[in-house]
């Protein structure tokens, strides 16, 4: 059973978020944007032990927007977890049998789901905070009857086990006999009776020889025996250096490792943080493989919520670790701060947390778009004959589209609602939203190019898109000259030519709701980029503001630079490379020739120009106003 959606309201900064969950889901975002709150909420929603009347929240968990708010006036914390089948008959028979009261079925698509809601609010009559767990129907209404019996929460939680590993993975406590995995593994060890007796005998012998090793020990023992004179128990007092029961001995087990080129084994706790952290993760894997199913049911599945797996590890180790995490037989929800973690996960699994005021918003790549639209036969038929893209849920009256609605399709659907203004408005909005859709090819491109090279872009507050590497270098240098280095504002420059298409990046930025701005040449290729982005449903006003080809027609970067006061530096550059310029300064076409030579030496030209300017201690007056404006504008959008 896979967790497929989490809805949270009024929990700390998570005032109203709805987050789809993949097999592996990566939460990214700056510090304090609510990633840990999300994992904490999940831990409360899916606790280890089933039913308890105790309220698991403390007063700071209730979102308070204004100073005069208090947890008692809060409308209450709501955490919904939705488990859904991805395909028919996915859930095993035993789960269907055991949980039938709470399983909701979409009989048309033949898909099952379970929704569990945890609500906590102040109950005026009871004079205390109360927490309620309820299973839901697909409309989000609580189920009654047998589905409301407390025992079913417990039964359900035996099939879904959530494990939380915090950023501070201290091997000492995780490998203690009381810990969630190691302790269980030790306690579950089975030693047969014959073997146990033999071991106990041997331990006894060892104890005796240890006691005789130093005669003083026996003196101590005799002295302690006087307890019997005060409180006679009739027994004998002994000292046991080693516990007599193999299990007592086992719980003291520890993992030892020998470092590279070392000769002595060290306990795990004496190794570095990175090793310790890794060891805990592997321990979890061992637990899932060895104990999870025997302890619960053959169909029990684990959800691992993992905070910052990259902590204390170097980049290669992080990338290796990501592969390891993928192998753990569990659904993984991982919060990460490292671009390296993102390099091995699909772009669709990223959930971007951003904080606006004291409210968190979460963005992600949407693979489908839905809207409530009243049931009419025409639409039902249309969806049936276009079922690869369209889907209509009759009971919920929900239209879902997996792709962007094009004009042709829109014109076919709209007439079904020729008199229903509300439905028309919903359809229009759905059409607009659906333009954000990224095709499978776009996603493959973004996955292949963008993410592998530049995982950091997902941690940026805004994107400045440009064509190639020269623009990339110049933009960051110009920003420096202006005294506003882009890193300081969390702005990533993305050179889209080498990393996919500009439209894919803009679509991605819009999916993640990231501010963006694009500069490009004013030539055929550049105008082509502009057109491809406009097709995404960018409004004319937005297009005028955000899509910025160089000012003059037919301008490319080289002719732009030549015309923007850099002619002397560029000529020096060409001369030093042994390029002969046929025309003389002042000749007609001289500038054009220089620009032509530069086009053959693109990257070199950029680095060399910057070098010359640095040496000459250039100041901000040298920054062309076109670029200065682009830089100022994106900074403004980012802050």
């Amino acid at each position: 059973m896979k967790l497929r959606e989490v809805i949270i309201r009024n929990f700390r900064n998570l005032v109203d978020v709805c987050i789809p969950i993949d097999n592996t889901t990566i939460l990214v975002g700056e510090n304090n944007t609510g990633k840990t709150a999300f994992l904490d909420a999940l831990t409360q929603a899916l606790p280890k032990t089933g039913y308890t009347r105790n309220n698991p929240f403390d007063e700071y968990d209730y979102h308070m927007a204004k100073k005069e708010d208090s947890p008692r006036t809060s409308s209450g914390i709501v955490i919904e977890t939705w488990f859904r089948e991805d395909r028919s008959d996915e859930w095993p028979e035993a789960i269907i049998q055991s949980l039938t009261e709470i399983i909701q079925t979409d009989p048309v698509r033949n898909l099952n789901s379970i929704g569990l809601r945890l609500t906590s609010r102040y109950d005026k009559d009871a004079g205390q905070f109360v927490a309620i767990r309820e299973f839901l129907n697909t409309k989000g209404e609580p189920l009654g009857g047998k589905a409301a019996h407390p025992a079913i929460v417990t039964r359900f939680l035996e099939y879904v086990r959530l494990f939380y590993l915090s950023a501070l993975r201290d091997s000492e406590s995780e490998f203690s006999p009381k810990s969630q995995f190691w302790g269980r593994i030790l306690r579950d060890l089975k030693i047969d009776d014959v073997k146990r007796k033999k071991l106990a005998d041997e331990l006894n012998k060892l104890n005796e020889s240890l006691l005789t090793a130093d005669p003083r020990l026996d003196k101590v023992r005799t002295s302690l025996e006087r307890i019997q004179t005060v409180l006679p128990s009739g027994g004998k007092t002994t000292i046991q250096p080693l516990p007599l029961q193999p299990w007592d001995l086992m719980v003291k087990s520890q993992v030892v490792m020998r470092g590279k080129n070392a000769e002595v084994d060290f306990p795990l706790s004496r190794h570095g943080q990175g090793i310790q952290s890794l060891a805990v993760l592997f321990l979890f894997q061992a637990y899932v493989e060895v104990l999870l199913k025997p302890t619960f049911h053959a169909d029990t599945e684990a959800i691992l919520s993992l905070e910052e797996p990259e902590a204390h590890l170097h980049p290669q180790a992080i990338r290796a670790l990501t592969a390891t995490i993928n192998d753990i037989a569990a659904q993984k929800i991982v919060s990460a701060h490292s671009p390296y973690v993102l390099q091995n996960v699909p772009i669709t699994s990223i959930r971007l947390f951003r904080r606006i005021g004291n409210v968190t918003v979460v963005h992600y790549v949407k693979r489908s778009f839905s809207a409530k639209i009243p049931k009419v036969q025409g639409l039902i038929d249309y969806c049936k004959s276009n079922s690869s893209k369209y889907d209509y849920h009759e009971t919920e009256e929900l239209l879902t589209v997996r792709g962007s609605i094009d004009d042709k399709e829109y014109r076919k659907i709209l007439p079904f609602y020729s008199t229903d203004k509300t439905a028309q408005a919903s359809l229009k909005q759905l059409k607009e939203e659906s333009q954000l859709y990224l095709s499978d090819d776009d996603i493959t491109d973004l996955d292949t190019y963008a993410k592998r090279v530049r995982g950091e872009v997902f941690f940026a507050r805004a994107w400045l898109l440009c064509e190639g590497q020269t623009e990339y270098l110049l933009l960051s240098y110009f920003a420096e000259l202006l005294g506003t280095p882009l890193d300081r504002f969390g702005i990533s420059i993305i050179d889209f030519q080498n990393n996919g298409s500009p439209a894919a990046f803009v679509a991605l930025a819009r999916n993640f709701n990231l501010p963006w701005l694009l500069v490009c040449d004013h030539d055929t290729a550049g105008l082509g980029y502009v057109e491809s982005v406009k097709k995404l449903g960018v409004s004319p006003a937005e297009a005028a503001d955000l899509l910025r080809p160089l000012a003059k027609k037919d301008d490319d970067l080289e002719s732009f630079l030549v015309a923007s006061g850099f002619l002397p530096e560029l000529v020096t550059l060409l001369t030093s490379k042994g390029v002969t310029i046929a025309k003389k300064p002042g000749d007609s076409g001289y500038e054009a020739e220089v620009a032509g030579h530069l086009r053959n030496r693109k990257t070199e030209a950029g680095t060399d120009l910057i070098k010359q300017l640095r040496n000459a201690k250039a100041n901000k007056s040298r920054v062309p106003s076109f670029f200065a404006k682009a830089i100022q504008d994106i900074i403004q959008k980012a802050t």
Binding site: E93, A94, I95, I96, Q97, S98, T100, E101, I103, T105, P107, V108, N110, D125, N137, K139, P142, L143, G144, G145, K146, A147, A148, H149, P150, A151, E394, T395
Partner: protein
Amino acid sequence: MATKQLASAQARLNPSQRQAAAWDKGPLLVLAGPGSGKTSVLTCRIARILDETRDKPFRILGLTFTNKAADEMRTRVMDLVPGEEHRLFLGTFHSFCAEALRQHGSHLGISPTFTIYSQDSDLESFLSDAVDRLKPTSSVVSDQDKKLLPIIQRLKSLLVFPDKCQEVIEDADLCQRVVEVYPAYEEELARHNALDFTSLILRTYELVSKFPAFAKRYRTVYPYICVDEFQDTNEAQYSLIKAILGQSHRNLFIVADDDQIIYQWNGASHQRLEELASDFKPTVLQLPVNYRCPAEIVDLANNLIRNNFLRTENKAPLQAYQGPGGDDAVRLLGPYEDFDAEAASVSDDIQQRHPTSPGKVVVLARNRKLLLGVQTALRGRGMSAAIAQRKDEFESAPFVWLHGMLRLANDRQNEDVLEAVCGSFRQLSGIESDVEGVKAQAQAAGQDLFRRWLKHAQTHAAKSNAGKVLADANKCLGGGNEFLRFCDSSLAWFDEIARPENHNGDESNEPFAVFSDERTVWTDLKREIIGTVGEGVTLEAFLQELQMRSKESIPSPSMVRLFTIHASKGKEFDHVYLVGMVEDEMPSFQAIKKGDRSPELEEERRNCFVAITRTSKTLTLSYAGSYNGWTKEPSRFLFEMGVLEEEDS
């Protein structure tokens, strides 16, 4: 490891019972005669399977025809395998369907808060509204169509949906009217979010046949399905079972007796068992040993039923487990001059023979009219006597109020219920509610009737002893299963105002006349409903289950009970008096008209068979020479049984 209770229950079974209880998979038909211990077989088998599979999550579905049978079996199973209750659904077809529609009915546009209407008078008024709605625009519908309810019910029990009635109704004129009235009636039910009993089955059938996902769901969850009293299933119920089972699932355990089919008029048929045989090819096991009746009665039963042709081939005759019951085991009284004399003599006989234990005596008859005669005679002799019948509604003011409050909380704009609440509240508290005022204020304030009435009552009763219960209503009737707390609070209030010192020496205390009986009934029903639906029972489910159950109270041991044969089904009694044993009564006039070898006449014979096999100690048959002024011959069944000898003429 079987529990001690289960092991000893199994040890008590005879070899053929044990064979049935040990049946694991595949279709089985258990032909269980009256008093053959079928309930033990069913409960032992269910308990055994649950016990052997304690680590498995699958469940067992047991369908019965009466709540009493279901409750009895559930209690027994829970006793045999404690802790496995949640793996069992034991209930009537109607309870099962109500649960299915609450859970999945939204896919058919049925809201889970539907109300079940069980009384024909309610349904007739829906039909009447539907007809009134049709009349202005229809050329064929008229007031006479307000009498079409039985036809519509019959169509529904045959699984004929409104769009298909043309295929089954031959009379063209009738068909034309039904085609319009039937869907209008269904629409009227839907407008009120109401379902009648036949809709429960029909719509559940629609659910599982329209969406195979649900049929599959039920057979996955319930790999073992058992049906008790299968001979009484009608077309709709049997089709529902088949739809759930699908093409390949064959784990069906059927208990039936074709000699006890007495619901032919409701669509039951001896053909059902033939259909079952051809659809599922079940193995057949017979349980002929009768543990209930003295040997003499078993002989009568065998003599009688062998005259039926429409019954399973090779059906083994009943075998008496008990020895002979002595001279009193079977007696024939009569012929009396007329039915009045018969009723008088039967009453005298009961009075003389059972002066201290009238509660162990029952009087059975083919129809209610005969029972009324005997009841009058019994009462005339100062004996207490009552005809057992389904009681649809509570009668005492306290429970009329409580039931009304719950209904109003669930259906907040229902004016009829509001009136019941106001009336009973006046009887309980002496406080008059201004019904019209409440309605008007509710409308003006855009509030529901429940809220408005409660506010109104709280204002007027703040200082009375009803203050607390009204406050609790306010608190608990908002949602969830808090309503049970309100019920407890109401009971506490009733108990307080029922105390003699609190009604000013008014001896009769009319509003509380049957309070203490109904209090017991209420407590029992609540326990049974929670047993069926679960502890988290919602208000709507509680009301639906309550509507499906009779509110009659447990009879007092000083009272002689009178049953129609249909109402006596599935029960047993020490001393049975079967009256009116003449032609045209038993068998009935209508059946005789159909011919000696008609299915109708055979059903009459089965009625007689069922009646005499209720007896565990003595059976007294009686007849007279004339009924309502018409001369009648002794019943042919008396001859067939061998109680009367044919005179050579």
